[in-house]
Symmetry: C2
Subunit: 325 residues, 2 copies
């Protein structure tokens, strides 16, 4: 084993998603079986004992690739020299809590983390925000880290993407591997837009295989509401499927992919979307950089939904603007 | 993808360990990235709704290798045509419950499952028992499946093995990859015997690198009590580390390994251990079969502990004997 280890920060280290995630990263699933890793696990002081339990279990796996573990409640320590930062932890929305309250509570956390990344991380650090509201949390972190390139930041819509692929495959009776060119546009929220306008299934346009009413009344709401449905069945929010989406997002970001996937990254005005928003687009990856799939025809149905997402993200941006100066 | 899929049954499909396990199997971690799988998930009727949530999340991953999911509360359905059976589910020991009560409760379950495996599984099925008391549960299942070769059955001591490797590596300040020829003997219980008599670290005998008092007062009790320590820290029993041990046990069983690992398999009288007991030995694997490492010198210290384990397993065997005829 000659590669030098990379450092990977994971916030919310004692949480449900991290519990489905860190063991897989340590096993080499994210960066491959040749890449040693050092995990930096960040948690709130109240969760340090639980985090200790997770670290005991990591030790108990005797992972060949796991070269070290940093366990801390200080973002400045957690992000020191990290090559990857998975911002998974966030305050969940409590009973009676307004979305705006949630935004503000988490805004402070992501501002602190952005500043700590700016000060201490490797300047090539690849950052994925998963904690909700993910797009705007990524926006806050990005604006709190002026020395880092905006291309270092992303927010996750890969779970939504995977859910959309699975729904379309099930409906058309094909294997998930046969579904291509699907996209999630916009915000990782209940108004996200899963788009099959360009999707291809075994060489055939998906829109010729399903009815418009299925797309409108079944497919789109199912993907949008899937998280709530899982909570209803499992009694807990999606964790293992979120962890797998994180691994897939990061692996593709590092290794590259010609396949369309979805990721929320900073808009440069592509498709008319307001510049600066962290907005989900169909992307491919080459040399460690996301490229938005270009020159797609956008019909009126899609345009309306894309604009609704833009508007929601502008509102979120405006609600946290005062915290960023 | 030209390989035909294999069928893998997992009991306790909605439980904690399964939640850390099934997503990794579906991702190809157990049988490799070329082997499609069909998962057969067995649960009690009361847990079917939670199991449905797990299946939703499996769908949401859009795993290329996952060719199907069977969800059932009937062992006869769960084990039909399966190539692998991971018997993870078992009733945990409740407050005030005697070990003998636990044995009897689970004995009935594993008798039913052994009979169902006998009637419905592929006759080359590889069976791993994880649910406790694992060794005796495997013994029961084996005796309830007279048409299956006893070599198809194993119980898990791989987590104990990994824990022992990690403890010894930490103590001697080496990488886990440097530790070889360690063994867990006997029962997966609090009197299991983690043995470093033969262990080699970078070519040096481990016993020359640590004090006898550390082995006796620290190493052995730490490995034996590790599960309780994790529960204390995490508030929940080991799940992710157990899942990783399951994957490692099965992968080695299928792919082979020259490295010593530990597994509980039927004794043929090796090292004087009572024939027929499911007892943990140091093993290697070739062509899908475990081979007990032969001709090791056993000192008095080891012999005493190995016999204590034999005695405990004989007692467990005798407690369930009436159920097997």
């Amino acid at each position: 084993m000659t590669k030098s280890p990379v450092r990977i920060a994971i916030t919310g280290g004692a949480g449900q998603i991290a519990y489905s995630l860190v063991f897989r990263i340590a096993a080499g699933e994210m960066l491959g079986p040749e890449q040693p890793v050092i995990l930096h696990l960040l948690e709130m002081p109240s969760a340090m004992e639980a985090l200790k339990g997770v670290v005991m279990e990591l030790d108990d796996c005797a992972y060949p690739l796991l070269q070290g573990i940093v366990m801390t409640d200080d973002a400045n320590i957690a992000f020191t020299d990290v090559d990857y930062a998975l911002l998974v932890g966030a305050m969940p929305r409590g009973p009676g809590m307004e979305r705006s309250d949630l935004l503000k509570t988490n805004a402070t956390t992501f501002k602190t983390q952005g500043q700590a990344l700016n000060a201490h991380a490797n300047h090539n650090v690849k950052i994925l925000v998963v904690g909700n509201p993910a797009n705007t949390n990524a926006y806050i972190a990005m604006h709190s880290a002026p020395d880092l390139n905006h291309k270092n930041f992303s927010a996750m819509t890969r779970l939504d993407h995977n859910r959309a692929v699975a729904q379309l495959a099930a409906k058309t009776g094909v294997d998930v591997n046969s579904v291509h060119n699907l996209a999630i546009w916009g915000n990782h929220s209940a108004i996200q837009y899963p788009d099959i306008t360009h999707a291809i299934i075994n060489g055939v346009k998906a829109t010729t295989m399903v009815k418009p009413s299925w797309i409108l009344d079944d497919f789109i709401p199912t993907v949008q509401q899937r998280g709530s449905m899982v909570i209803k069945a499992r009694g807990k929010s999606s964790a293992a499927s979120a962890a797998y989406a994180i691994i897939s997002h990061m692996r593709d970001w590092v290794m590259g992919t010609d396949e369309w996937v979805s990721a929320a990254i900073m808009s440069n005005g592509d498709y008319g979307i307001t510049e600066g928003l962290i907005y989900s687009f169909p992307v491919t990856v080459k040399d460690g950089e996301f490229s938005i799939v270009q020159d797609l025809e956008i019909n009126d149905f899609s345009r309306t939904r894309m604009l609704a997402n833009q508007q929601e993200l502008e509102q979120e941006r405006d609600m946290v603007a005062h915290l960023l100066n």
